[in-house]
Symmetry: none
Subunit: 217 residues, 2 copies
DNA sequence: CACCGAATACGTCAAATGTAGTATATCCCT
DNA sequence: AGGGATATACTACATTTGACGTATTCGGTG
């Protein structure tokens, strides 16, 4: 039995989805519905024993993209299928980046829905025909990211701190870095410690990941 | 009747594909086979009345990627499905960029092959389960230019080990990861320890960097 | 010059991590 | 049925790291 939850603000559409799922009482167990992203997440906190979520995109309070992002982080065992009428490239791209593994249009017949659910649980990525094409086109012409880097955050790492983080990212320990830079291990440690407050992190791994993300190293 | 051509250098495998297609005499009409990319293109020049090409990647003279690139340019009405054993991200990416709209592994049963062929003609993008996941990951994390894919190294991390490394990369310590995955910190530690020998590293940072570099997480 | 940020260095204690074992259960494949 | 890979859990010990302090030196700038 596949346990399914739904996020859909429109009551009529939610009903319709539930009816589609009802065609397969031997395979699907419909558990609950959130009326928006936030509501769904709250219900998940009470019961996260879910295999697949069917997620609408346009919802009040919290939309399906945000909800997908949060849920795929916190409940990685749950597979998310976007179930929506929106199929423009931007929404597809955002949904995939947020962690959705499937993208099915709402007008697909019940049988397609079931096979999509089974496909995603088998490690696949079910997509309605038009969506799959757009996804491929996205891959052929990747969207440039980094254009709108609103990073007023400068962090202002010193030269030495940057060097130390670079070595750190290669897996060296403090002693090795100290030898490499001809300074004392205690100093290496201090440099790293100082980056923690600048980057607002609390360990090596986070510091390196954050510095990497912001292209500081 | 769907007219299908095949590009495959290995005679036995070509025979096997032809047999698979032979299961569906009402749907599929097998037309011809090229023993490599160049040979297929020559045969297409004589007869381009083809709906779908099943294309191997590894072939002498001209491989499947190059052939796909040329054919999708010159015969845009022909849909191309990569039919191969290679499923690493680099090959998938190259095939898609070259113009392939499907990517099916050779060990799929005949029924899957037929549904894939029908799907691609319906505007879809049939992909074997593991391939679809990798394609999505490519979209989430576009390949950096200049990134060398010398990865015949498989490392073969288990599912659990991969999950643990993912959490590790976010800066969580063993206790936090343990809670998150509902296992003991000691087990988390053991999983991580086991990745060290597989990845040939000796600490968290190196493991995460290497796993990242090889797109294992 | 006086100040300040950066770099250097050391000490201490608690917590996290690396290394090396052992052990059990499950699942898959042969 | 048995073997191999995986997941789980634990103990024990040595090392590394995180957090908090203190302190000296040097280079540039107001």
């Amino acid at each position: 039995m596949i346990k399914v939850a739904v996020a859909e603000d429109n009551a009529l559409l939610a009903k319709s989805i539930q009816e589609k799922l009802g065609f397969f009482p031997d395979d699907i167990r419909y558990k609950f519905r959130g009326i928006n992203g936030k509501d769904l997440i709250q219900k998940l906190e009470a019961d996260s024993n879910i295999d697949v979520i069917l997620m609408d995109i346009q919802m009040p309070e919290m939309n399906g993209i945000e909800a997908t992002s949060i849920i795929s982080q916190n409940y990685p065992h749950i597979k998310i299928i976007m179930l929506t009428v929106l199929d423009d490239e931007n929404h597809i791209f955002q949904a995939i980046r947020a962690g959705a593994n499937g993208y099915i249009l709402k007008d697909e017949p019940p049988q397609k829905l079931l096979s999509g659910i089974k496909e995603i649980l088998g490690g696949g990525a079910p997509m309605s025909a038009g969506v799959a094409l757009k996804a491929l086109r996205l891959m052929r012409n990747p969207i440039q990211e980094g254009e709108e880097e609103n990073s007023q955050e400068s962090f202002s790492l010193s030269k030495r701190e940057t060097e130390v983080l670079q070595q750190l990212s290669k897996g060296f320990d403090y002693k090795q870095i100290a030898e490499f830079l001809h300074i004392s291990p205690a100093t290496v440690r201090k440099h790293i410690e100082n980056t923690y407050s600048k980057l607002q992190v609390h360990n090596k791994m986070e510091a390196v990941q954050k510095a990497n993300k912001h292209r500081l190293i």
